[in-house]
């Protein structure tokens, strides 16, 4: 019977022990890159919406405050999506002929909700709360990007755990004074000094508390 393993397999076997490490590392790298790619995280991907609602138009051009529509953002976990009546506050008189707004008027007539497509959606095992972030001085812009420049809504950040933790370990790098939370295009002159001051002033919890697993997985 011929030999099953020719002598060269000795070298192959040795090389494969060595190569296996690289293959494993390579696979890990592929997985983590795919996991962070916008194909998986949907960062920067614009969603189809029943009405092409433009934040740029309503926020930058008309100067509306986020709270005009996202009423509960300051005092509840959920920021709130405006009911049809909120749109009708203005669109009962403005752009009445527009086809684009027909779903809004239809919804008001029939009392059936407009079905907006969710853009940001954490997995159900992670807990998030808007009110605490607003109260402690994290701006909408820090997490949602330049909403005031978005013709249609997209997600600016990955919302991965590493992203949350990156701030929870060093909140002082991102904190703003409370009256700048709803401002866009804000930049502090000296974030290092200001951040340290705001951590004191807003009584922000220590990193050990903020990185506790049970804080977000409850």
């Amino acid at each position: 019977m011929a030999q099953i393993f020719p002598p060269v397999t000795n070298t192959l076997a040795r090389a494969s022990i060595f190569g296996g490490v690289f293959i494993l590392a390579g696979l890990l790298w592929v997985f983590s890159t795919v996991d962070r790619s916008s194909y998986v995280t949907q960062v920067g991907v614009v969603r189809e919406q029943p009405v092409p609602f433009s934040h740029r138009r309503h926020v930058a051009q008309l100067g509306l405050d986020c709270r005009f529509c996202h009423t509960s953002v300051e005092d509840s976990a959920f920021a709130g999506i405006p009911p049809t009546k909120t749109c009708m506050t203005c669109h009962s008189q403005i752009w009445l002929q527009s086809e684009m707004l027909e779903p809004v008027r239809a919804s008001y007539r029939t009392d059936r909700s407009i079905e907006w497509t969710r853009v940001h959606d954490l997995p159900d095992y992670a807990y998030f709360n808007h009110s605490i972030h607003v109260k402690k001085g994290v701006g909408c812009e820090t997490c949602h990007g330049r909403v005031d420049q978005m013709p249609l809504m997209w997600q600016e950040e990955t919302l991965h755990m590493e992203w949350c933790l990156n701030c929870h370990r060093h909140p002082e790098k991102y904190l703003r004074p409370r009256d700048e939370v709803f401002t866009f295009g804000y930049e502090a002159e000296d974030q290092t000094t200001l951040g340290a001051l705001l951590v004191e002033e807003h009584d922000v919890a220590a990193a050990t508390t903020l990185t506790n697993c049970s804080m977000c997985h409850r």
């Binding site: 008309l62 100067g63 909700s113």
Partner: protein
């Protein structure tokens, strides 16, 4: 099993790994999610008309309706202090300026884009109107203006009204209303 088969099997096993999403999308409903259980498909249930939460009976008609025995109240039924005015100013900025403008003259940005123009706050009729009237307008709407009761709590409505009164005062202020030690600064600016 040959080496090649073994590699194939283990690679396809690897591909099957971690593809279950049960924890990701749990059998609970998030706020405003779509639900097939209710006929209107709303997971966040609208309240039955007339629901009163325990301990939240709105018996104080001055505070919650701006009226006593059907007549508008003339005085804001909660203490007016700096904090209330600041709150009122903020809420007015969010909810009223788009139409009534920061001055209250009714020429806000949405009006400039074609919305019906409200009358200015700085006319005698509204300067002498009882505060209860403003409360009624905010709570129930008025003509082309929709109600804001869902977006402003009764306390916030009073805060806004306190600020509207401040605006009305400011537009009719004279030099004599300015504290004596600040007057010279203003006179220099003239």
């Amino acid at each position: 099993m040959s080496l090649r088969q073994a590699i194939c099997v283990s690679l396809s096993l690897l591909a099957l790994m971690g593809c279950r999403q049960d924890m990701h999308d749990q059998k609970k409903l998030e706020p405003l999610e779509k639900s097939s259980f209710f006929s209107d498909q709303r997971a966040s249930r609208p309240q039955v008309e007339g629901t009163v939460a325990r301990g939240h009976l709105r018996a104080d008609s001055a505070l919650f309706e701006g009226r006593v025995d059907g007549k508008y109240v003339a005085k804001i039924p909660i203490p007016v202090d700096r904090a209330l005015l600041d709150r009122g100013r903020e809420r007015f900025g969010i909810f009223c300026t788009p139409c009534h403008s920061a001055l209250g003259d009714g020429n806000g940005i949405v009006v400039q884009r074609g919305f019906k123009r409200p009358e200015t706050y700085h006319q005698d009729r509204l300067r002498t109107a009882p505060v209860g009237y403003f409360f009624d307008v905010i709570t129930n709407g008025y003509g082309a203006m929709y109600s804001f009761n869902a977006r402003l709590t009764p306390k916030d409505r009073w805060a806004v009204i306190a600020y509207v009164r401040t605006l009305q005062l400011s537009q009719w202020a004279t030099l004599a209303d300015v504290p004596a030690d600040e007057r010279s600064a203003l006179e220099e600016m003239r």
